[in-house]
């Protein structure tokens, strides 16, 4: 008991000093289990390769330049879609959140189209735009847009009335109130919307690449299936998880710490 307690406190201390470790250590038992299952020989090696084979595939594909190319393609698509989705979604959300009329008119439409999920658009998009970048971008933008709009509306509505009143009575015009009060007040929710949007967008992208793709991580995985290469499929899956962790931990979480948490708008 004593040893457990002491090792736990040591772990806490070490991860406080090197926070990166806290992200890696929990995976040790997962990988151990993986190794145990593959080594036990329950499944044939071609069905379930071990970490060593997957790492080898990682280095080979990186060396050949395929993996970096595919990764870049996927990320670019996601970034483009997210950027367009934000540029459309945040102003739209602010408009709907501040105007009773805009809200009344657009809300049913928003809910209707939100229900027609990203992938459900694919059949018609493929007829309209073919197997190309337009189709992919459309799906990503569509997926990112709704969480951003809905959360922005929520954020705008959560800004206390007294803050806008204070700004007005200090001489701010309505337009200034939008910039000085509404936007920063809604920011924590906008970030939540972005986080959800990127998460859904990332999944949608992989699905679209599998169906439409000529490149990208999703395409790599599907192509590997055709070739019967479980190693590459596993590699693709691991990359998906890793990339999301990086986006969340290195980009989204720091923004949240610097804004909403710093201002006391959200508790950490």
């Amino acid at each position: 008991m004593n040893i457990l307690l002491r090792s736990w406190s040591a772990y806490t201390r070490i991860t406080l000093r090197w926070p990166g470790l806290a992200a890696i250590v929990p995976f040790i038992p997962v990988i151990a289990l993986w190794v145990a299952v593959t080594e036990s020989g329950i499944f044939p090696r071609a069905f379930l390769p071990g970490p060593v084979e997957v790492s080898k595939a990682f280095f080979t594909l990186t060396y050949k330049g395929i993996l970096p190319d595919y990764l870049q393609d996927s990320l670019l698509r996601l970034i483009t879609g997210a950027a367009v989705g934000m540029t459309l979604g945040i102003p739209l959300g602010i408009l709907i959140g501040t105007s009773k009329w805009a809200r009344r008119i657009t809300w049913p439409i928003l809910l209707f189209f939100q229900a027609i999920g990203d992938i459900a658009w694919l059949p018609i998009l493929l007829i309209w735009f073919g197997f190309g970048l337009t189709t992919m971008t459309f799906v990503i933008v569509y997926t990112v847009l709704f969480p951003v709009v809905l959360n922005t509306v929520l954020g705008v509505e959560s800004v206390p009335l007294d803050l806008a009143r204070a700004a007005r009575s200090l001489g701010a015009s309505r337009a200034r109130v939008l910039w000085e009060v509404t936007l920063p007040g809604a920011l924590p929710n906008i970030i939540t919307g972005l986080r959800n949007g990127l998460g859904y967008g990332w999944r949608a992208l992989i699905a679209v690449e599998i169906i439409v793709g000529t490149s990208g991580i999703g395409f790599m995985m599907f192509d590997a299936r055709r070739a019967g290469s479980v190693v590459e499929i596993l590699l693709g899956m691991i990359i998906l998880g890793l990339l999301w962790y990086i986006v969340d931990a290195w980009i989204l979480a720091p923004i949240e710490r610097a804004t909403g948490q710093r201002w006391g708008l959200v508790t950490s």
């Binding site: 206390p160 007294d162 803050l163 009143r165 204070a166 700004a167 007005r168 009575s169 200090l170 001489g171 701010a172 200034r176 000085e180 009060v181 920063p184 007040g185 920011l187 804004t259 710093r262 201002w263 006391g264 708008l265």
Partner: protein, 252 residues
């Protein structure tokens, strides 16, 4: 000189739950001199906050008029500073930027408005907190910021809506003393809404007692200044005035 005039002010609104029109304020007339400190007291529902919100321009009035320096008011404006019960500080701005917000809206350059903000923070003894965020301050300190933020904008009239209702009793007394001190130094015109009778008497030159949307009576407060609680708590004049107002409010 009259700064603020309310003439037959009335507010009627439609209550969708009751399905009827409600008269929150009817026929309130009031003159406020420049540099005067007026307290408005009354039981809850007497319309005091509604009157203040109409003067601030936050809600439209349905009858009569509100004149500031002879001109009818139209919506909120910087000549009417407001201090809120909820403090209403901008959480994403430092204390310095909160106080400098009014000057910023006037187009005062950053260096100059920082100077103004520092001057007013010093007035409230808050210079050390300039670079903190509001959520890092106690309630009492937050409301000090709220008061000087409104003052730093040089309003013609300062509207205070139960500003000390949500701080603890000891802090409240300190804030009341500080407010009278600041008022004596700067002589702003103040309308102070409260349901706390001793507070109303302690701060004001004049106490307006409201009841059911009307002015019930007015009481002049000629207590000497500076006013501090340690003296006034035992003062016969203060006790007499307080109980006089209290009886009015209780019977209202």
């Amino acid at each position: 000189m009259k700064t603020l005039t309310l003439r037959n002010l009335a507010k009627t609104y439609f209550d969708p739950y009751a399905g009827a029109h409600v008269n929150a304020v009817h026929d309130v007339s009031l003159e406020v001199e420049q540099g005067e400190f007026v307290s408005m007291v009354g039981p809850s529902g007497c319309g005091k906050t509604t009157i203040l919100n109409m003067i601030a321009g936050f809600i439209p009035y349905s009858g009569g008029e509100i004149l500031l320096n002879g001109k009818a008011i139209d919506g909120p404006g910087p000549e009417r500073g407001v201090v809120f019960q909820s403090f209403a500080l901008f959480p994403w701005k430092t204390v310095l930027d909160n106080v400098g917000f009014g000057p910023k809206m006037r187009g005062v350059p950053k260096a100059e408005r920082d100077k103004i903000a520092y001057e007013y923070l010093a007035l409230a003894g808050l210079s050390h907190a300039a670079n903190r965020y509001p959520n890092e301050l106690s309630g009492g300190m937050q409301q000090r910021v709220g008061v000087v933020r409104a003052l730093a904008n040089h309003p013609d009239v300062l509207l205070m809506d139960e500003p000390f209702a949500s701080v603890d009793a000891q802090t409240r007394m300190t804030l009341q003393e500080e407010l009278t001190r600041i008022w004596q130094e700067r002589r702003p015109t103040v309308i102070f809404v409260t349901h706390d009778v001793p507070e109303a008497v302690f701060l004001a030159n004049r106490v307006v007692v409201l009841s059911k949307g009307r002015v019930l009576d007015q009481v002049e407060v000629d207590l000497p200044r500076p006013r501090v609680w340690d003296d006034l708590i035992e003062d016969d004049n203060f006790k007499r005035l307080s109980s006089q107002v209290l009886h009015m409010v209780r019977s209202a």
